[in-house]
């Protein structure tokens, strides 16, 4: 029953039997209160679960994520430092505050807004029991990212990205595999300074993405870009900490809601706090 309820979960139409290739496809989840499709016959428990799921959509900052970070924190973690003028990507120009002695400075006011919406989105996905995949191809921070993912009960991929991981998933993993519902890129570039294959593949598979885009990255395919530095250890640790706290908060909230409504939390939220 719990499994049946969950398959209605995010986009309301995920039914693996019907989809020919055997994998589940997820549509984009919008932060606004779109009506979740429900079956005509509803039992009491499904009605209660729907209510739990729709509750966060009524308030703008339900998880109070704006308390987690401030502009000063971002500045101290050196998030505003971009690359040199020569590495600048054309499409990043709107996000830049300016350049100082040849080094681009990212506009932290815009970053604050983008980060807020990105974290809010992540929180909603985690609240609804979605799979979040952390991706980064920077070897310096691979361990930090993997530990973060392990700590919040989500998944990480900081290794060599094999071609068909998202697009050829049933062959790679086995039939009936569930793809991630959100991919968080802590660095959108790979080791040869080209855009990570995962960005394009996630767009192909209709998987929403959150990405930290530096001044040399292409933000166009990322659903929720967060302009910021991806080279400094301090900045990366800040991002990891923020994502971990958001996800844990959202999951705790979900467990709290279920306990209040008297439902068993079995199967709906997997992972440690």
């Amino acid at each position: 029953m719990a499994a049946g309820v969950l398959t209605k979960g995010l986009c309301g139409f995920r039914q693996p039997r019907i989809v020919a290739a055997g994998y589940s496809c997820s549509g984009p989840l919008y932060a606004t209160a779109t009506a979740v499709k429900t079956l005509p016959l509803q039992t009491d428990s499904t009605a209660v679960t729907d209510e739990i799921q729709n509750l966060p959509l009524e308030t703008p900052d339900f998880f109070r994520l704006s308390e987690l970070f401030s502009l000063k924190d971002l500045f101290d973690a050196r998030v505003h430092l971009g690359h040199k003028k020569g590495c600048r990507h054309r499409l990043m120009e709107p996000y830049l505050f300016g350049s100082r002695l040849g080094q681009d400075i990212i506009d932290l006011d815009q970053t604050m807004a983008h980060l807020q919406s990105a974290l809010n989105f992540t929180a909603h996905i985690a609240y609804r029991g979605g799979i979040i995949l952390f991706v980064s191809r920077r070897r310096q921070f691979s361990h930090v990212v993997e530990s973060t993912a392990g700590d919040c009960g989500e998944y990480a991929h900081t290794r060599y990205w094999q071609g068909g991981l998202l697009t050829n998933a049933p062959i790679q993993y086995g039939p009936g595999v569930r793809l991630p519902d959100l991919i968080v890129f802590l660095s959108t570039l790979n080791n040869v300074f080209q855009q990570h294959v995962g960005v394009r593949d996630a767009a192909k598979m209709n998987i929403p993405t959150v990405g930290v885009v530096d001044s040399n990255c292409n933000p166009s395919l990322v659903t929720y870009p967060v302009p910021g530095n991806d080279d400094t250890p301090a900045a990366m640790e800040l991002y990891c900490r923020l994502f971990k706290m958001t996800i844990n908060r959202a999951k705790d909230k979900r467990r709290q809601m279920e306990l209040l409504q008297g439902l068993s939390p079995a199967g709906l939220i997997h992972g440690s706090s």
């Binding site: 719990a2 993997e146 998944y155 991929h157 993993y173 009936g176 709906l268």
Partner: protein, 374 residues
Amino acid sequence: MLLLSTYFLFSPERRTANMAASGGRTVGSFLWKCGNCCFNFNTVSSNLTRQVLSRQLCVSAVLHRKNLAAAGPEKFSEEFIKKQVEEFNIGKRHLANMMGEDPETFTQGDINRSIAYLFPSGLFDKKAKPLMKHPDEVFPKQRAVQWGADGRPFHFLFYTGKQSYYSLMHDTFTKALAVEKHQDRLRGKDLFTQDAKQISLVGSRWLLKEELEELLVETISEHDYARFIQLMERLLSLPYCSVEEDFVQRYRRQLEIQSSKQQVQPLQYDQHGVAYSTGDGRRKTAMGTVLLRDSGSGSISINGTNYVHYFPVLQDRQAGALRLAISRAMLSFLSEGQVETMRQAGLLTPDPRIKERKKPGQEGARRKFTWKKR
């Protein structure tokens, strides 16, 4: 009951002789066999008899299988394997009753012999012969489904494709970081010393790639394996790596001491109390048996005559056979360290080279006929 029989073939010609001894050196008497094609199976010692005679017909699929890993979905479900295990155990007891033996103490060796007796097979292919082994050895180790009822995978590195390998790398790196942190703490308290206790690596080797694959139940490439060894070496290069000794030793295997494989016969004593021992050697169709006597005169005789007079010209193969026979005869008189030295000097290794056969269409074994352009 099974009939046990041993095979022996004796060479047609055999001549023995002894010579007098002189001054404190060992005496050898040689048994010289000349023959083109004679086999002489050594009398096997009693504890080897059964193994030699039961043909190795029940070879498990473990030796032949490929590492399944993430090759595909689970081919055999858990219940199926459990049922197979129950059936195997019941069948084992039936077989024991049939053979009139005690079901409680019926070992795998007993099963193999019973099957060989009940189903004598003239087939040569190992996979074609009748087999009765525990299902764990027959069905290859495979992965159960990696995700739960809600579709969420169990392992946090599932989406990388090689979860066990990458999680091993992650754990190793975590251990390295922990050691470095420990070192920094000690430096802070001024307790850091360069001569900390090191992990002893003598007499052990890293896991082979195949062994690692078996451990992880996953196929890994050579590049991955090299990276893993590199990371472990890096961990070992830290001065305080002994903190993580257990973790490191899990991925090391003890090397077998080669000299312990040498079966040294105990010294035999004749009626006068003189110690003697025999050894035989072969090289290319030349065969020799040596009898070494202790506290002798040092004279060497071959088939009765002095060694100087016996061979008009000493062939290489004859010398090789004699050398091996003498070395083997000497083993009983020497200590372990000397035996190891002899082994490392190559005196105990039989030379396997024989004359290569001539092939049709060629003039010799390798030489081809002269090629003419026209």
